[in-house]
Amino acid sequence: MNANQAAESLLASNQQKELEDLPKDYPLSTSEDEGDKDEERKHQKLLESISSLNGKDRQKLADRSEASLKVSEFSVSSEGSGEKLVLSDLLEPVKTSSSLAAVKKQLNRVKSKKTVELPLHREEIERAGTPLEQEIFNLLHKNKQPVTDPLLTPVEKASLKAMSLEEVKMRRAELQRARALQSYYEARARREKRIKSKKYHRILKKGKAKQALKDFEKLQKVNPAAALEELEKLDKARMMERMSLKHQNSGKWAKSKAIMAKYDLEARQAMQEQLARNKELTQKVAASESEEEGEGQEEEEEPLVPDLVNEVQIKANGLNPWMFRNHFIDAKEAEVQKDLEDPAEPEAQETSESEEEKAVVEEETLLKEFEERRSLRQKSELNHMAEPVHRRVTKDPSSQEVLSDLRALCQKLSTENHQSGKQELSSARTAQREEPAREEEEPMLLQRPERARTLDELEELGREGCVENEELPRTAVEGLQLEKNLSNHIGAPKEKKRKEQMIDLQNLLTTKSPSVKSLAVPTTVQELEDEEERDQRQIIKEAFAGDDVIRDFLKEKREAVEASKPKDLDLTLPGWGEWGGIGLKPSAKKRRRFLIKAPEGPPRKDKNLPNVIINEKRNTHAAAHQVQVLPHPFTHHQQFERTIQTPGSTWNTQRAFQKLTMPKVVTKPGHIIKPIKAEDVGYRSSSRSDLSVIQRNPKRLSIRHKKHLENNCVD
């Protein structure tokens, strides 16, 4: 205890000393300060060790004086105590008991046992013990993955060498964009899936069925084998239908309708429809098979071969396997190609199948309406451009139902075909491609920004990146064009016009340009922090760029046009000559009668410029400086304008200006201006001449004067 007290007193004095010292070395640098603290700590330790020499009660409990995070549940903290806390001390009971001996031993064993060093020795790695390990090693070796050096695989190294920094950066940006787009697609698909409107889904389904039918038809012409396969699927669907009781009058709904059918005409009709549908669905497709028979000769050998083999066969049948591969892998490219062909194709189809198209058109317009309404309601900020792709994505889940619908339609079509007996061969490559494209859409999107493995892949990636750039706007254009075609059918001139404008705009904004050549590509060697940040921001902006820019602009333009239009004047007095009051509106006839239509203004300057809004308002401030009165001899403003085209000294040379501004009458001070004489003008002098009035050149004589003069002369 004495020692303790002594130590404490020592400590106190020491602190005091320090306090005294403080003012002196106030402006100390921080490092020195730290040094001081260190010394202090050492000093304290020394004191403590001295005090501990005393023996006995060195195990003092540290009392918690201030809040600290390190609070042991045994109220043993290593901070206050003089010694380091050892694990074995904790385990040591106050009295050594036999029950804990076993635990102690165990702990000791754990302690003694060598832990697994993380980077294993080479031999240890190489050794493959279990079969699983063997398999893994096998795989790793096969793919040239590093077993020992985890930093970079040889392939990766090669790829790193192949890529320059800029390339990587550009590609990374592209991938980032792709990911952003993908998230859009996903969100959109989710949203569309959540749509609850039955009508919407029904129409969607119908549309899909029709599309499928069309595709099937094309497929039939181009690739009979695949068509056959499809047919088989159809058959299967038919079987399913026959097995199920879906369209028989046994469901809940059907039963309820059956009760109502006695009184309700609609219910009766619905029931009949259902039955008819059932019939349709369960009918065997006879016509198409008969059609197929002629060409299906060769395929008859192997209709029972499993699908997989068939597929391979199809691929083998193709002209160039490389081409095929391209079709399947470079879906985007295929799409682009399709784009090129597309504008021509729909028209060809239209001419041939205009009758059926009409029905299709109606439905599609309905669909479109749905979508538009939806988009309007939700004010989605999602990418407007991605629309066509979404549609394709959403197709997949309900394909089964589509198939059944498809069958029915197929039958209809076949009968029709029989009637008309016409079969036109349209280039059905699109149909063939459409599906692979659909399949490949998602993998493309799911692509992560992984490093490409091989050089080939790298190249491909590059190509895709290039293609992707063009692809997005193009698809949009395509979609619009299709829409345009549709609207052609309906004959909605207004909408068509708008669409056309939009298309123009699209073309405008996606002007293609020559590829980069001999252009120094900027490198990012040194970047300040903020600049990097800015780059990042820019990338994000780029990813989100193009969202609705066009739509917003068109909307703005429409508003501007509306605002600039002269307003009609409505002079109807509600209640005048008829009943009035709350909820009663003046009749349309009245309104028509008292509506004063504003005269149509001149056509807007930006009428044919889709990407421009020109303000038509008059600049009154500038107008105040313009000439507002026509001077005398001019009868039309254009005449006068022609005479004021060469203004002032700023626009002319000095000599020209001087000549232009020369006064008509020049006088010189100090000279007498004599009155003009008749001789001057070339006339005989006369005594009664009153020409003294005229001082000017005879040229400038007014007519009155001349007449006067003539009279004089005659006299």
Partner: protein
């Protein structure tokens, strides 16, 4: 009642009158000796007059006379016998110098293709006079081009060699010492990326670093005029009308310093300014702010003329159209809007890009606008009414900064690289296929400007300032009275006074400045209507023909109608005839719509369905090119060199003069 001609003169009176008309008016203080009775008219003898007059004859037919005057032949016609001077020596180049028709066309401002409503006789005579005057002035302006002795420099690769591969070091090696001295780098790494601005004369350079470093110097002599640190972020910097005043957009407010670095003003009404533009003829400082306001500050009186809300968020892209002083703002929704202080709404809004607009530049003729957006595209737009893109290309990183030179070169800063594209001539848009020059800098580009009247491009970047040599960038001839790089202080002060006297009111800024020379039709109509209301009748209205009632049964209704019809037909015929006579080229009229339509569809045509270049552009040139004191020697253009380095590469060889007329300014 014809006057009887004097017996002494045999000439018929009509001709006589014609002659008198041509004659120079006799002044009353001139000698009265000529008052001989025989002389039909007073005035100096014809010979003297011929000596003096520029245009020898009043042309009877315009077409022929034009040819006469403008080709070389007519000189002989004009003066068949060369004049002899006192010493007896002949003047080998007698008469006025010949000028080519194309050059004259450039200065013509009356569009004769436009049809005028049939004028009365009196009006017609006025019109004829006006046309003659215009022709004469344009001939004079064309002739004054002779005084522009300097020619622009240029780079030319030897047979297919890419000029973009020529480095700055090569150029510096090839040019003379004075020009080589214009290439320099200022290493200023501490104070962040720099914005820079050249004064209008091209003699002074001001730059401001993001971290507050502001300096101005005479960059030719490298004499520093002031250097300060404003201890605040500097967003932009700009000279006002002369190099004595400097506007700096700082983090908070707009400050104005003089050339000593003394703060003169702190304009608190312009806060958080991001970009500055100075309109020299209007004395307006346009500021675009983070708050989305475009503010016009009249620096001559210190008043804010207009504060316009662009309603498009933060404004960080701004440029001016030097032709009509309209401000172009680039927005984040891909549009570029054109503003004038007189209008609360944008004059025009153009959708240019899918992403936001990053940079905008307008060339000196006001015909082309270059924009670059977040979609990595660089586009050149036609500004003359259609606002359609003429050309576009995708750049690997997209251009963050753009600048046009006086002769229409386009510079784009992308990352740490500057690319420059050149067009065919002055008013032609830059072709984006092949860059003219490229240069890599030590830091990211933050500001770009071509130096006026010097073949120099100033680049502010994160590593300081770089002054690049770009042959053929600037106008080789300057107007000594308008912007004289060599002016003394006194001259500058005098110029300042004159410029202030000629200050253009801010409200005159509009898209087409030529429209100011037109009659305000709307108010004219309004005035007419009001007058008619006041008087109770329209004095200008023509009363419809009312046949007089006749006696003896000849005034039957049928005959009245017949007479009426007759008069109507006659009028119709006259007007129709007039219309046909009005068109000197009937065929051309027929062809016109066809031609325009073909033009519209041809992909080659650079201006689809467009009117010919603005006469105003030429006018502007004429204005600049008055050449009052005669053009001084250019301030050191990179001249075409005959001693090019070696036979392998002929960097600076004279370019063939095809489509490369030495323009004024």
């Amino acid at each position: 009642m014809e006057t009887v001609p004097e017996p002494g003169s045999n000439v018929p009176p009509k001709k006589d009158r014609l002659q008198t008309k041509k004659k120079k008016p006799r002044r009353y203080w001139e000698q009265e000796t000529t008052g001989t009775a025989a002389g039909a008219s007073p005035g100096p003898p014809r010979k003297r007059k011929r000596n003096r007059e520029l245009r020898p004859q009043k042309p009877k037919k315009n077409d022929t006379s034009k040819k006469f005057r403008m080709s070389k032949k007519p000189r002989e016609l004009k003066s068949p016998r060369p004049q002899r001077s006192l010493s007896g020596a002949q003047d080998p180049f007698a008469g006025p110098a010949p000028v080519s028709v194309e050059v004259v066309q450039k200065y013509c401002r009356i569009d004769k293709s436009k049809e005028l409503p049939h004028p009365k006789t009196k009006t017609r005579s006025r019109l004829v006079v006006a046309e003659a005057q215009e022709e004469e002035t344009s001939v004079r302006a064309a002739r004054s081009e002779l005084l522009l002795t300097e020619e622009p420099g240029f780079l030319e690769g030897e047979d297919g060699e890419d000029t973009a591969k020529i480095r700055q070091a090569d150029i510096v090696e090839a040019v003379d010492i004075a020009s080589a001295a214009k290439h320099f780098d200022l290493n200023l790494r501490q104070f962040g990326p720099y914005r820079l601005n050249y004064s209008r004369t091209g003699r002074h350079l001001a730059f401001g670093g993001r971290r507050g470093h502001v300096a101005a110097l005479d960059w030719v002599t490298k004499k520093l005029t002031c250097e300060i640190n404003v201890m605040e972020a500097v967003r932009d910097i700009r000279f006002l009308h002369s190099e004595a005043l400097l506007a700096v957009a700082q983090n908070r407010w707009l400050h104005i310093y003089d050339n000593q670095g003394i703060e003169l003003h702190c304009v608190r009404r312009c806060d958080r300014v991001t970009r500055l533009e100075f309109l020299p003829f209007h004395f307006l400082l346009a500021t675009a702010s983070e708050t989305g306001f475009l503010t016009y500050l009249d620096v001559s009186v210190g008043k804010i003329v207009a504060a316009l809300n662009a309603r498009a968020g933060r404004l960080s892209v701004m440029t001016q159209n030097p032709y009509n002083a309209v401000i172009h703002l680039g927005h984040s929704n891909g549009t570029v809007s054109l503003w004038s202080p007189a209008m609360k709404e944008p004059l025009v809004k153009i959708l240019c890009h899918r992403g936001g607009v990053r940079a905008v530049a307008v060339d000196s003729t006001g015909m082309h606008m270059a924009t670059s957006g977040l979609d990595h595209q660089l586009k050149v737009f036609d500004l003359r009414g259609t606002f359609q893109p003429l050309s576009a290309r995708t750049l690997p990183q997209g251009a963050g900064h753009l600048a046009f030179s006086q002769r229409g070169l386009l510079a784009a800063g992308m990352g740490d690289v500057v690319n420059i594209w050149a067009g065919q001539g002055k008013a032609s848009p830059p072709s984006l296929e092949q860059p003219y020059l490229t240069h890599r800098l030590s830091g990211h580009v933050h500001g770009l400007q071509f130096c006026p009247y010097e073949d120099v491009l100033g680049v502010g970047h994160s590593g300081g300032i770089t002054s690049m040599l770009v042959p053929g960038a600037a106008e080789p001839n300057f107007d000594g009275l308008e912007s004289n790089p060599y002016r003394s202080r006194k001259q500058r002060q005098e110029w300042e006074v004159k410029a202030l006297l000629e200050k253009v009111p801010a409200e005159l800024i509009c898209l087409d400045p030529r429209a100011l020379a037109e009659v305000d039709v709307i108010s004219l109509e309004q005035a007419k209507k009001e007058r008619a209301e006041r008087l109770g009748y329209d004095p200008d209205a023509r009363t419809p023909f009312q046949p007089k009632p006749k006696q003896k049964g000849r005034s039957s209704t049928a005959s009245l109608v017949k007479r009426k019809r007759k008069v109507m037909d006659q009028e119709h015929r006259v007007s129709g005839h007039r219309g046909r006579a009005g068109h000197p080229k009937g065929n051309a009229l027929l062809l016109a719509p066809l031609a325009s339509s073909t033009c519209h569809f041809s992909p080659v045509s650079p201006y689809p369905g467009q009117n010919p270049p603005e006469p105003g552009a030429a006018a502007a040139e004429a204005r600049e090119g008055q050449a009052h004191g005669g053009p001084a020697v250019g301030p050191g253009q990179i001249r075409a060199l005959s001693q090019a380095p070696g036979p392998r590469r002929n960097i600076l060889s004279p370019r063939p003069p095809v489509g490369n007329y030495p323009s004024l300014e």
